[in-house]
Amino acid sequence: MEYLLEALNVTKIFGTLKANDNVTLKVKPGEIHAFLGENGAGKSTLVKMIYGALQPTSGEFRWMGSPVTIANPAAARKLGIGMVFQHFSLFDALSVAENIALAMPGDFDMAKLSEKISRVSKDYGLPLEPTAIVADLSVGERQRIEIVRCLLQEPKLLIMDEPTAVLTPQEADQLFLTLGRLAREGCAVIYISHRLEEVKRLCHNATILRHGKVVANVDPTKETASSLAKLMVGGEIHVVRAARKDKGGAVRLKLEGLNLHADGPFAVELKNISLDVRAGEVVAIAGVAGNGQSEFFDAVSGERSLPRDAMLLIDGKPMGYHGVNARRNAGAAFVPEERLGHGAVPGFRLSENVILTRHSSDEALVKSGMMQKNGASGVSERVIKAFDVRKGKPDPEARALSGGNLQKFVVGRELDRKPGVLVVNQPTWGVDAGASATIRQAIIDLARQGSAVLVISQDLDEIFEVADRIAVISRGQLSEAYPSSELSAEKIGLLMAGEHETREMAHAARA
């Protein structure tokens, strides 16, 4: 048996879209096999088929040399295939042991299982407390549950879908040690990631997918990050140019001791956040998901009003009590994380979506309560042109656009106003490299024209590309904002883990 798993000429069609077109992937035992491609290239589709969550339209899978049909995830687990999802399949209200029990076949013996979890998790350097409730755990710990859940089934093949996207650099290092050990023990790993440096460091083999087709199979250790990127995109990537700015613009967005209680059982409380964003600069907020980013965005955008008016100042005016529209009228613009449903109404046309965020600030869009359709179409066409939004018809519904194109549109809609203050949450989440570069460039350009820009992101590469200063959010607290030249990924990692809670530590990280 040379190969553990072979996917031979697999095709998967959704409606008219060929998500996978004649894809062949071969994985050897003990190999860490990277699976690369842009968003929408079809990586997730293929691994979902391997895990039995989807069925191929045509083609075949071979497991240890013989043809198999993987009818459902249970069948996949029976073969020895485990998967760690990008979006965890965990149950917040249940304990660690209960979460794992749900994926284990056979007897239901919580005591025995808990003992096993403690043993295996310690053994692989992924310590877990079986009785802890998932909702109380950090994202890194949650991922450990997923991994331990797979390990307990002694898998022969482990699929990891963007595992490090949610981890601090230190947590990622620990994960690499674990994966290395698994590979030495003979377990194969399919590793999906956008982080090419990481792939070079960890993986033995890489299969690259573009528009649903395999375009290359390479040894990543012999490639450079840019040669891998070129294979993924099929061309050169525009390099974001951040003309360094001169310091000392006026403070346009000021947060002063911002406190906000948690508004739900799983929400994060914001504690004493202070930050100045000056004209001409981009300040980025780094942090692992779920540390208060969405609460922070809601507080800054006015979706939740603040306990004191002076906690938030826009161009010197206290706006803490004011809602989203008042803050927009004061010259601010906001782009939330979720583009469909939050940033745009799925069933509304693009021009109507323009009116939704700009009706109060743009007189050309609404006159005496009547929508000005021509004005709206004008704005919408301008945005579409400036950001190269690709669409099927002239003024489509928001839901008809692909994620990346809609993201370009919702960011572009706000940038088009030339706001004095821009707050963006995850500006390029789920957007491919080309579109990301466009959006990031536009953000920097806006700042250079005298606006204050605040970017909330979990992508460190993005942060280093756009930010002049970087602050880190951890458990609802914000660190000091350091000039980005003074921070390395390592130091940000320490801050993400929450070490800024003492001032000395912060200064140690800075040194």
């Binding site: 039995g52 459902n72 995830p73 399949s89 149950f91 209960e98 029990a101 749900l102």
Partner: protein, 307 residues
Amino acid sequence: MNDQLLSIILTIITASTPLLLASIGELVVERSGVLNLGVEGMMAVGAVCGFGAALTTGSPLIGILAAIAAGVLLSLLFGFLTLTMISNQVATGLALTLLGLGLAGLIGESFVGQPGVKLQNLDIPVLSAIPFIGPILFGQDLLVYVSLAIVAGVSYVLFRTKTGLIIRAVGDSHQSAHALGYSVIGVRYLAVMFGGGCAGLAGGYLSLAYTPQWVENMTSGRGWIALALVVFASWLPWRLAIGAYLFGTITILGFSLQAIGIGIPSQLLSSLPYIVTILALVVISGNRALTRANTPACLGQPFVPDR
């Protein structure tokens, strides 16, 4: 005085049992993530079918089975609409209540005024002869014991068995449960049917044991109290049992106090269960640990598998 107290306690038990039966079923339904507001309707149909079947066959036991079957059938309609056709659970539940009440009135038209068949008390020999506690503990009808056994069973299954873990998991995150390969829709169908059976049984209890006759609207809002009870009990079976007896006590005390001549407006008394529930909700929602551990996160959310 003793006799009076005894009779009050006995009435409290019979008044509490239908509330407990209906709400324990709804508790399981909600634990699986489905909100079925049609309890009142399923109870009404259960009551009339139980009454009719017992009247025709002369056997209260067959009446009980018919009541359960009627509740299950109606809940299957709810399941089909909300789980298979993904209709809105709140709207469908409300419609189910209206449908159930209307249907019960239609079916029961010829039963109005007819003397019913009463489910006899068990009166366990010797034991039930013990003064005072004998009739309370050993002289009840079968369904009183059954209702408590169901609570014990539900509590055991939910928190001690894998089946229960799966029900709770489906209610907490249907996406995750689906990803692990569990049949979300299947589990919810079974839960909804269990809830329907319990509601039907509760209705049957009203027309076979509580007041053995058929009167239109005889459920008189008990289905709504059952729904409130589930929230009041923060989705915990034994707390639910305590709540059901508490609500039963409130209702009966109201009648008794009026009988003695203490003037509390009956409207106030009949609204007490809801007031207590609202207070309980306020207390619960202020308590992070309580809501997080027990409120099914997917309650009322439709599930559409992505494939």
